[in-house]
């Protein structure tokens, strides 16, 4: 794009980002502060993910952007256009064809490979912030692996509700060392992070933090032996493709309680319908 560097950010800024990314990969799950720039899109709308994508994007890459699992949600469209315009890279909606996937709130159903990078947009990188608002204090808690407070929170839910009641942004332990916010993906997606062959990068622009999970790293959802982690989904099959195990969106069809359930991953659903006889 005339007047702007490849993928919008100048090379010095990309270098700063790549240094933070290298640190993040070296210490899986540990939050690295970085000097996030103002982007021409609002904070909270994916500026962290956009900066990470801009830092790893090359001319030969093929980019896929999803929001809520879908390629055609307006913010996904907007971010995909941003890179098509500022970097001129190829874009795709096909998970298997993408080399970089930027996502908000979902991990694709199709298993990712070593040849792919998934970039998560993160609103709040600090998994402990609801328990301890002071970042000075949470930094100390991470340094000492002092995560008892989070276990107490889970225990309180078991005591009150008879089960753990966190539905999304379900906290995970990475590499047995760092407690990490997986971003607001449904807990259903958490198991996909465990030993994923693709590199997982996380960008929080407003909070100015980057973190990462390198390929084949252990990612464990917090739980108890007698109250094991459970990944919930709506107990239905997709009304369009019949998938039994995908994550479903609930669509309101009328004002008399009518509902239908369809795959949240639009590419997965469309591919299954194409392959169906």
């Amino acid at each position: 794009m005339k007047g702007y560097n490849f993928a919008y950010l100048d090379e010095q800024t990309k270098r700063m980002l790549r240094r933070a990314l290298l640190k993040a990969v070296a210490i899986p799950g540990h939050q690295i502060p970085f000097a996030a720039r103002e982007m021409p899109l609002p904070y909270g709308w994916g500026t962290g993910g956009i900066q990470v994508t801009a830092a790893v994007l090359g001319r030969c890459d093929t980019l896929k952007v999803i929001d809520q699992g879908a390629d055609d949600t307006t913010n996904a469209v907007s971010i995909r256009r941003f890179f098509a315009r500022t970097a001129g890279v190829a874009t795709t909606t096909r998970t298997a064809h993408a080399t970089i996937i930027q996502t908000r709130h979902r991990i694709p159903e199709t298993a990712l490979t070593e040849a792919q990078i998934i970039v998560y947009q993160v609103p709040q990188p600090e998994p402990l912030y609801r328990l301890e608002p002071s970042r000075t204090e949470t930094r100390r808690m991470h340094a000492l692996s002092e995560y008892g407070a989070m276990h107490v929170r889970l225990y309180e839910q078991v005591a009150r509700y008879g089960q753990i009641a966190i539905s999304y942004d379900y906290p995970v332990m990475v590499n047995g060392r760092h407690l990490m916010a997986p971003s607001p993906i449904p807990a259903f997606d958490n198991p996909k992070m465990h030993r994923m062959p693709a590199l997982q990068l996380f960008g929080a622009g407003r909070e100015k933090r980057i973190y990462a999970v390198p390929p084949y790293t252990d990612v464990a959802s917090l739980d108890f032996e007698d109250y094991p982690f459970r990944a919930g989904r709506a107990p239905h099959a997709c009304a369009l493709c019949g998938a039994q195990a995908s994550y479903l969106d609930e669509v309101v069809t009328d004002d008399r309680g009518g509902r239908m359930f369809v795959c949240s991953d639009t590419d997965y659903c469309a591919s299954r319908r194409e392959q169906a006889p």
Partner: protein
Amino acid sequence: MAYVAVKGGERAIDAAHAWLAAARRGDGTVPSMQTAQIREQLGRAVDRVMAEGSLYDPDLAALAIKQAQGDLIEAGFLLRAFRTTLPRFAAALPVDTAAMRLARRISAIFKDLPGGQVLGPTYDYTHRLLDFSLLEDRPAADAPEAGAHPGPAPRIPDILGQEGLLEADIRSDAEPFDITRAPLAFPAGRDARLQGLARGDEGFLLGLGYSTQRGYGNNHPFVGELRVGEVDVEIVPAELGFAVCIGTVTLTECQMVNQFAGSKTEPAQFTRGYGLAFGHAERRAMAMALVDRALRAEELGEALTAPAQDPQFVLATCDNIEATGFVEHLKLPHYVDFQSELETVRRLRATAGSAPGAGPPPGAVPPDEPP
């Protein structure tokens, strides 16, 4: 009703932007506004956008205000996003506000002082009566003897400081922290704090400053001095080795003189809060000075009891570009998170339903707000 997946986000976005452009222009029979008119006649709006957009450029600020239909936070965002793409070719020398060409200078702690009290172009003492004559396009009355700027006047610390009654200016040649190039970490130094406040939301700073006056971290402020005027901006180009003036900026500076500190061994002296803003922005500079002083509570050994004294609370919240983005991001789809919550609530209700008449237990943990 058959279900049709929503497609055509791209077309919807284009159509929305075209509609926005038409709405921005408004009634085509009314003459279009020139940015020069905004710059000249909506100067206080321009000043606020320059401060919160952290870029001193009245023409671009006027353009941003026009483009944003007068939404000043949106305008500040436009300016900020432009600023971040600009190369940095030099760093200015510290500006000398004692050499300011004053348009206004008042002190609330001395009846008279060297340089005098200069009211200048102020809304103070105007009666807030709508002036219906402005509905008509009349030439403005001439201001009395425009350009009669009083000479440079010493700043209040230069006066009180001589006696040691006021804590001294911090002199340092150390490279200041730069919140636009390094991530802010807590605890934050005063240089980083002042930078954050200088571009913080005026309304938020006003509220926080006001909260200190209402007992939440009071620091007994006096306006030592408030001055508005032009200062020269100088740089030292490497190939020249001496300072050259590259332009002038209008600044508002507030020196707040606060509650004294001291002990049996340390002689008592007044402390200070400092506010500085682009343009003519007295409310902003004063609020900033109150909050700057409140944030020094820990350094000065005061009890930390109020929000205005908590650097993380103030600095991580005061940036309205960040705040508006995150508040407004709630408009983005959250179907997936909401679906996961629906399933959880249904599961909990199914479990609770097995006990007759069982509602949620008292003191149930409220569900987390959507991120």
